[in-house]
Amino acid sequence: MQNLRGIGKMEKKKFEIKPVKIERNEEVAENTFLISFLPLEDLSLEVKPFNFFMVWIPRIDFIPLSVSDYDGNSLTFLYKIKGNGTKALSLKKKNEILGIMGPLGKEFFFKNGEKILVVAGGIGIAPIPYFVKFSKGSEIDLVWGVKKGSELFEVTKIYGKMNNLKNFIIYTEDCSYGKCGKALDALREIRLNEYNRILSVGPEVMMKNFCNLCNKKNDCYVALENLTKCGMGICGSCYIKGTTKLMCSDGPVFECSEVKYHFESIIA
């Protein structure tokens, strides 16, 4: 199979489906896959941290995944098998063709020397490597919590060393590795005032609790994963309860204060 790049001039637009070839698709931890894509056509994508793409699995599904890494050509995602779509994706082989739509959402990163704390839960780790790499001028401490040690993988082995990643603390609920407990436990042990901003990415319940715990006014952020059908701000499926914001267009990262009503509707 041959690369069709450069055959014709085509305008590439954000919301069009663009063909990509699977470069790798490997299980890096239990039910957790790393997939990377090579574009089949010249894309010149401008990808920013916390941008996401809708990944098209032909005739099966169309699922939002956060950019986990991007080197200007190869685009990497990290995903966990949840249901049909992610399962089908995990069965796709190298060189198969899929479609991607994006980059979607607003960027979120810092270059200005701030100190940032990231608290990731489970697959919430996905967007973090690209975020760290992009936020070069900032010092980042990362707490990653998982239920079982089998969910872990070696982050720096996959993404390379990140100089601005200062402390990296792992929590496991089964106490098989790192600290014993939940990622949010870290909030009680770390002095939050030392950070300019604190960001949490993970299951909704965790982010809800995070927002309750995080006492820094206006500087606590979460990255939402609302139901995303169109990704272009017109279907309304990703709306944030009690606000006029849409996750796909105004997010996915929001300040805790913006998603208060949204989280209130979640039964914890």
Partner: protein
């Protein structure tokens, strides 16, 4: 204030502070979305098409942007059912913006059921979606047959007092069907809906929308919509809400010249462009257009392309 006055228009008895509204299906299925639409700067808001019972709609992909500058969609009339109308209308009342409830169904009774609920909830008008091109049983099959159009509109307008708008899609008999809708009591016509289309990915050789068929919207269909508006206006001088590919003031002005009194905007609201800015610049452009033609009210330009 004085300047915006010129864009006031009365449509089906409703006063709009400007002639722009969202096209049905673009947001509009919960109160948050109604408020968002309000903030965009519209003169009225239109709900997503509501059917009696909730509908789940199609699996994504349901909306795509195409290389020709249009969108294709097959949302599948996903909506929370008629129970949600009250919340939508209340929000609009709170914001003091007219709300049109778009009504869907498979037969006269279903349309009437939702329309009644809209009236009870206090909606300013209802729009009958007789034109969804991609959901079997809901739409184009009804709208393409002038007798069906007559029956549905007649039934609905006999049981409610608020204005009924009949939204029709492109079909061979659209001028005739428009006439039947008016005869049956429609106060205004919505012209047009999306046009049946398919998008195939040539690498995987698969249609991209889960539904395979979808409806084409955006700039590609604009000249088609102008044609329909022009022909229907010429025949009946009816009140028309134009929809199809409006993205700037010139597109809107073309609809108005052809005969539209109000304009719905759908595809141009994709977050690519800033929707607030889009609406503002269309309104600004229309104001300048009135000045250019030395008139003080939009009404003076409605149907102006029909003059000698």
């Amino acid at each position: 204030m004085v300047i915006l006055m010129t864009l006031n228009i009365e449509l089906a008895g409703i006063i709009l502070k400007n002639p722009l509204m969202n096209a049905s299906g673009i947001l509009g299925q919960n109160k948050e979305a109604i408020k968002r639409l309000y903030e965009y700067g519209f003169g009225a808001v239109v709900s997503k098409t509501i059917t009696p019972m909730p509908r789940i709609g199609n699996k994504p992909p349901i909306i795509l942007s195409l290389p020709n500058g249009g969108l294709i969609n097959a949302v599948g009339l996903e909506n929370p059912g008629k129970g949600t109308i009250k919340e939508l209308v209340e929000e609009a009342k709170e914001l003091n913006i007219p709300i049109i409830v778009s009504v869907g169904g498979t037969n006269e009774d279903e349309f009437s059921e939702v329309a009644k609920e809209a009236e009870i909830s206090g909606a300013n008008a209802i729009e009958l979606n007789l034109s969804c091109p991609h959901t079997k049983g809901y739409g184009l099959e009804i709208g393409a047959d002038p007798r069906n159009v007559f029956n549905v509109v007649k039934n609905v307008s006999s049981i409610i007092k608020i204005p009924v708008i009949a939204k029709l899609g492109l079909n061979d008999k659209i001028v005739e069907a428009s006439g039947k809708a008016l005869e049956a009591g429609a106060k205004a016509l919505g012209l047009i809906n999306t046009v049946k289309a398919i998008y195939i990915d040539v690498y995987t050789l698969k249609p991209v929308l889960s539904n395979i068929h979808g409806g084409l919207s955006g700039p590609p269909i604009h000249p088609i919509a102008v044609r329909v508006i022009y022909d229907v206006y010429r025949e009946y001088r009816a009140e028309i809400i134009g929809s199809g590919g409006v993205k700037d003031w010139k597109d809107a002005a073309e609809f108005i010249s052809a005969g539209a009194k109000a304009i719905q905007i759908g595809s141009a609201l994709i977050s690519n462009d800033d929707p607030k800015h889009t609406i503002k610049s269309i309104l600004g452009g229309l104001e300048n257009w009135l000045r250019f033609h030395n008139v003080t009210s939009l009404l003076e330009l409605v149907g102006s392309a029909h003059r000698d």
